[in-house]
Assembly symmetry: C2
Homo-oligomer: 338 residues x 2
DNA sequence: TTGAAAGCGCTAACAC
DNA sequence: GTGTTAGCGCTTTCAA
């Protein structure tokens, strides 16, 4: 017994008066070991409550059975579902998950990468910050043959595997849906324009306007940072245009609830005066009045998929795999005019 | 350079033609090493992009700079905030966080404990499942001197440290608040009665009824499991009592939104016909109509506190510390009659 | 001021 | 079928 009370191979060997190697082999089910010995060993191991010391193993193999995950916000249903998906798949393969929060800070992200590197994780799944424009820290991971998979937020290079949602198509479908409801003045409430996701969703929106033969009006496009207050003000600005929009597409949770607040503050009805649809992963969207129409990323599935790909890389696959996960449209009251 | 491209002390020693021990000491700032040597070593380490191998270190010390966390549901704002709080404090002290999800299953919880043990984490923070009644797996951790702190859901023994919310007082205050609004038939919508938290909150509720000189009516107490459907049905049952309650206290998010749904389904007004207040950590409670009054656990603070206590134990503190975190009452429209 | 060597727990190559 | 030994990267006596 060592200090911590965990029995080691040595302890078992000593107790049984045989060599450490024999114990090791017996426990691994090595066929060279006689049945009698094996049983004796297994028995003793159980009695002594032996568990293999992963660390010793890892010192040899160079890595721990650990997968590192870096997300920009931990406290959201979106990222916690991704994490949960990752964790489930990882657990099946005997890996544990270490998660770190970059708080949308490039500097923290670099630190996180460094910490995970130091911990000798077997691979990393990351969702980059909004600020991240230099990907050197990820490339140096690749140099060390540490596999990396990007999730949710893509990085602009095909060198890495990634799992993302089809933003363009999702926004396209949402816009068409509103047009079909009879909306003609469809506005879009966006986050910061530096976000790739914003660019893509706006792209889908514009494509759809074209295809539905609706004009593209710059005054119906509002950008805002993601604080609830700024978002509400931005929504108010949209609603006070000379020609008031008759529909709003909100690009995330915060924007969606901000838009709802603004519409109510203007004493407008929904969907009568203004139809509303948003991208969201908050289940409570269906509990509001009116229930909010949403487009959901399948965040859990994104996590699972990312983890499966990472495991492939850990097991030798070299070529990057880029996967796009479809979104799910949930039309509820806030956008249904019929 | 080893296979993985990470330089080791040996590499530095070889390059400089000095011993590994000297390199180790130089890097530790051991004063026995001459300034010249130290600088040479530090310089070389930087050039070779050396990072210390934690695993080797851990093999000696018997533990990794890792804190394990077990939660019953990962995908909730409540637990993800707790995790975030833990993570932040842990990071400050150089620890990373491994989180596992027991999915409210006792069996999984046992597995999680075992996995964390195998990984040789330095300590564990756990929120036990609803099912957990036997705590042997935690006691055996204690036997191995692996510190454990319970968070949010307490276990019925003073042997361990814990950080919990003051459930009794929170429910007491909520009930009194409703009474002050003029409510006389205050009902309570509870989760499973085996949950300690449910028992405590109900206790606070009953105490408050006494102190406010209101009758305690068993038909105003509803228990339900936590699926949205069952919860909604339970809320409907309350609302269809012969003497309809004029207020409902919902003991968590799910129950709160279910109650809201039921009230609307009965075409009752809020807070006019029925006032509603719930325990919740969902920020969107303020975006509903009417905005929902809530009692918030300070989940992030609970996480931070739990982690601080765990670190104390890791650093030698033996005596358990039991901390109660106050709740915060946010009165919004759904319970304000004045 | 520096070096040599032991040892943390385990596996695998090599003996016998 | 089983034992011996080297070695993973690091710290830490013990020597020099």
């Amino acid at each position: 017994m060592t200090t911590k009370g965990a029995a080691s191979l040595k302890d078992i060997a000593a107790k049984l008066g045989i060599s450490i190697a024999t114990v090791s082999r017996a426990l691994q089910g090595n066929p060279a070991i006689s049945k009698a010995t094996r049983e004796k060993v297994v028995q003793a191991a159980r009695e002594m409550n032996y568990t293999k010391n992963f660390i010793a193993d890892s010192l040899r193999s160079g890595q721990l059975p650990l997968i590192g995950v870096i997300v920009p916000h931990a406290v959201t249903l979106f990222y916690s579902s991704i994490l949960d998906g990752i964790e489930q798949v990882a657990a099946q393969e005997g890996y544990a998950v270490i998660s770190m929060n970059s708080h949308e800070s490039y500097e923290e992200e670099r630190c996180n990468v460094q910490s995970l590197r130091n911990l000798h994780v077997a691979g990393i799944i990351a969702s980059v910050t909004q600020e991240t424009e230099d990907f050197g820290h990820f490339y140096s991971l690749a140099d060390e043959r540490l596999p990396v998979v990007f999730v949710a937020r893509d990085i602009p290079t095909p060198d890495f595997s990634s799992v993302t949602a089809d933003s363009v198509e999702a926004a396209y479908k949402a816009t068409c849906h509103l047009a079909r409801q009879g909306c003609r003045r469809i506005a879009i409430l966006c986050g910061p324009s530096r976000m790739k996701m914003v660019v893509e969703r706006k792209h889908g929106y514009i494509e759809a306007l074209h295809d539905c033969r609706l004009p593209v009006r710059p005054d119906y496009v509002a950008y805002t940072d993601l604080s609830p207050d700024a978002a509400t003000r931005a929504a108010m600005r949209l609603l006070t245009r000379k020609e008031r929009p008759d529909a709003i597409i909100a690009l995330n949770d915060t924007l969606l609830f901000a838009a709802m607040k603004a519409i109510k503050a203007c004493y407008l009805t929904m969907p009568g005066d203004v139809a509303l649809i948003g991208f969201s992963d908050v289940e409570y969207a269906e509990c509001t009045s009116p229930a909010l129409s949403t487009i959901e990323d399948q965040s859990r599935l994104m996590g699972e998929t990312a983890c499966r790909i990472l495991l492939k890389h850990i097991n030798g696959q070299a070529k990057p795999i880029r996967k796009v996960i479809p979104t799910i449209q949930k039309i509820r009251e806030s956008s249904r005019k019929a």
